[in-house]
């Protein structure tokens, strides 16, 4: 009798211990010492008061991202120039593919990017019609990669059937043609995966007779499926979601603006581009000298690109973004800050004429 009472007691003690220790898992949120709340302004203009952290894709501690969209949008790679005996201009470029880098694609979100020259997108390759383009490609990645350029070239320079293995090198050579805005990307199967990870870039062929002087920008419309469910988690113009919304691109009123817009978005069949406050003339693939329309909306399929020419009449802050609001609310939203043009001359040639 005594022992049964003893064991019964033990049993209840055991239950009590289990019950008390389970509290650790049950009660949500441990008591936190009172802190005075701080106030934040969010990227949508809301005010948040909190004692905790703010999670907003623009990044509140102002940390530098691995990729600088401001630098990228105005950076053109003209290559190393040599004039050949017959007068042809040879442009040599060096592109290295890697697939082991981790990039902060949005504040706090780290993603394994595959890169051309350590960047997503890769460098904007720029040449003039008729130039001989020679690209020294090295694959330092762990997987096979290749360079596939849009444009006119020989089949063996197409970068599709010959993938370059780890540590391999290949020299792509072709004449820059036709005039226009093209793109390049890795064409190794599965292409979707190689593009989602970041192996692409813009390729511009300028006409021999230069285009009208203008303030020029490159916008590569891209996205990232960071959890591999076949849907993009982030959308952007030039990789970083919401970047230009908080770092408006400064331009002048009454100045010619030329935007090279490349759509390399995976998973979504169409992307689009909507400009506020003015309309643009647009040139599909930039191959024609006559604009095919005057609009403030562009609809682009995968691999489509357009050259846009426009100017602003009035100064102020103007958005440009995907009119597909899902994309814009996941990062593809940007803005121009149009300033009063005080200069007498209304244009400045932005790209250096090498020859």
């Amino acid at each position: 009798m005594q022992s049964t009472i003893q064991s019964a007691k033990m049993f209840y003690i055991l239950i009590a211990i289990v019950a008390v220790s389970s509290l650790y898992f049950v009660v949500p949120g441990v008591i936190v010492a009172e802190e005075s709340p701080r106030t934040f302004l969010t990227h949508t203009g809301l005010v948040i008061q909190t004692t905790g952290d703010v999670i907003d894709p623009i990044g509140y501690d102002g940390q530098a991202l691995d990729f600088d969209p401001d630098k990228f949008m105005k950076e053109f790679d003209y290559g190393e120039v040599t004039v050949l005996d017959d007068g042809t201009i040879l442009r040599e470029y060096y592109i290295t593919a890697r697939d082991d880098q981790i990039m902060e694609v949005s504040p706090g979100v780290f993603y394994n990017v595959w890169t051309f020259n350590d960047s997503v997108p890769g460098p904007t390759i720029r040449a003039t019609e008729g130039d001989l383009v020679r690209i020294h490609f090295t694959n330092e990645g762990s997987k096979p990669h290749s360079l596939h350029f849009h444009g006119i070239h020989k089949a063996e320079m197409d970068g599709v059937f010959e993938s370059i293995g780890t540590g391999g090198k290949f020299t792509y050579e072709f004449y820059a043609e036709p005039v226009g805005l093209h793109l390049y990307h890795c064409h190794v199967h599965p292409v979707e995966e190689h593009i989602n990870h970041g192996l692409y870039g813009a390729y511009i062929v300028d006409p021999k007779e230069p285009r009208e002087p203008a303030d020029e920008f490159v916008f590569v419309l891209n996205g990232f499926d960071t959890d591999f469910d076949g849907e993009n988690n982030f959308y952007a113009a030039n990789t970083v979601p919401f970047y230009y919304q908080h770092h408006p691109i400064e331009i002048n009123a009454n100045q010619n603006i030329r935007a090279y817009v490349v759509n390399i978005l995976e998973f979504d069949a169409v992307n689009n581009f909507h400009l506020h406050g003015t309309l643009f003339h647009h040139y599909p693939a930039g191959t024609d000298t006559v604009p095919s329309g005057y609009n403030d909306m562009l609809t682009m399929s995968q691999g489509d690109r357009q050259i846009l020419e426009f100017n602003y009449k009035y100064p102020g802050l103007y958005m440009f973004h995907a009119h597909n609001t899902e994309f814009s609310e996941k990062g593809w939203v940007s803005s121009f800050l149009v300033k009063e043009n005080t200069d007498d001359f209304d244009t400045q040639v932005e790209y250096d004429d090498i020859i």
Partner: protein
């Protein structure tokens, strides 16, 4: 015996010491040797609340590694948010994600969070419902609900006492068996409800189903011990055996009603049920049978009204506490545990009644047993359909 005590202690402790050494070895020197496979992080959204111009989600790190919650979204659209206490979540740690959002009542929403490796976790709400303000009005309201679904129906059920008392032996056995049927049904119902809560609200890391099984068995054993003592006491006290059985039933049903009250309170707080009069009517009808279950064993003795009311309160009042606790602080874990305790208690009570009946007559030749259990189950099923 006394001389071997140190030896006994050492033999008890030695395996534990060796186990600790082995764990230390595996975590320390051998840890790199044992690393294989891919470790996937996991975050669970446990609760979503809608307050004035804000959506609040309680998230818990239910994975094996520490994570940072770096992004929040509503309906898969990125929204700025605050996270308290901070973005970093250790194993099992929770945080409150506060998303300023002008939500619309009655509309479905999906709330998502993205962690540092880009993985998104989401949970849906069928209809946005403003969180209840924890004030006196809510306290009274929840108390009323608990009273209506717990205390009142049981008291009504007890009123069958005079009727059952006048019945013959076979009819009495039938009603005892009927009670067993009711209780078996209640027990199964509680297990199913607990399983559902585990599935919908509890992260798989807690092994909800195993927890339910564990708690049911523990509760059964604990009440079996208590029941044994109570019935032993009856041999040398005024407490009659019938009353002891009734008390056991009342305690078992009390636990059950605590769990049920928790579930109802939580459902009210989360806005998961359209709380209509119909819902209350159904619940009350269903629970009236619980009063009958308490009344039946009492008929073999002289029961005073005060005692009966006391038993009714033991069984019914926990429902009020349940609705309060569930309504003011929702914890799927507590609901699950109390439903499981209730189930274990009820199964133990069924066994007690069986023993009690078996002492009085040879049960297996008694058709009223089978008829009673069947009738009890069927009545419970039919009243459950009404809810």
């Amino acid at each position: 015996m006394t001389s071997s005590k140190p030896v006994l202690a050492i033999s008890a402790i030695a395996p534990i010491v060796l186990l600790i050494i082995m764990i230390a070895f595996l975590l320390g020197p051998a840890s790199s040797f044992l690393q294989f496979g891919i470790v996937l992080p996991e975050v669970s959204i446990e609760k979503i609340e809608f307050t004035r111009n804000e959506i609040q989600a309680t998230v818990r790190n239910t994975g094996p590694v520490n994570v940072n919650v770096v992004l929040a979204d509503v309906n898969d659209r990125i929204q700025p948010a605050a996270i308290e206490p901070d973005t970093s979540l250790e194993r099992f740690e929770t945080a409150l994600v506060r998303i300023p959002f002008d939500w619309n009542e009655g509309q479905p929403y999906e709330i998502g969070v993205t962690i540092d490796d880009g993985t998104r976790f989401a949970k849906g709400v069928e209809a946005a419902f403003p969180s209840l303000e924890p004030d006196l009005d809510l306290f009274v309201f929840l108390g009323m609900i608990g009273f209506l679904i717990g205390v009142v129906p049981i008291m009504i059920g007890l009123l069958w006492y005079p009727f059952i008392k006048k019945l013959g032996k076979n009819a009495f056995n039938f009603f005892l068996a009927f009670t067993m049927g009711l209780l078996i049904f209640l027990g199964i119902d509680a297990v199913i409800e607990a399983t559902e809560i585990s599935k919908n609200h509890l992260s798989s890391v807690f092994n909800g189903e195993l927890l339910i099984a564990t708690v049911i068995i523990l509760s059964f054993l604990a009440l079996y011990g208590i029941g044994k003592k109570l019935t032993q006491k009856t041999e040398f006290s005024k407490l009659s055996k019938g009353l002891a059985i009734s008390l056991m039933i009342a305690i078992g049903i009390g636990f059950h009603n605590l769990g049920e009250g928790l579930a109802v309170g939580a459902a009210i707080a989360l806005g998961e049920v359209a709380l209509s009069t119909f819902f209350i009517v159904g619940f009350a009808t269903h629970n009236t049978t619980e009063g009958l279950a308490i009344a039946a064993p009492l008929t073999s003795t002289k029961a005073k009204i005060v005692k009966m009311i006391g038993l009714g309160l033991i069984a019914g009042v926990p429902a009020i506490f349940g609705t309060w606790i569930g309504g003011f602080s929702f914890s799927p874990f507590f609901i699950l545990i109390f439903l499981a305790i209730g189930a274990g208690a009820i199964f133990q009570v069924v066994l007690s009644i069986f023993h009690y009946m078996n002492e009085k007559s040879d049960l297996l030749s008694n058709t009223s047993l089978f008829a009673g259990i069947s009738a009890g189950l069927i009545v419970m099923y039919l009243t459950s359909v009404i809810i």
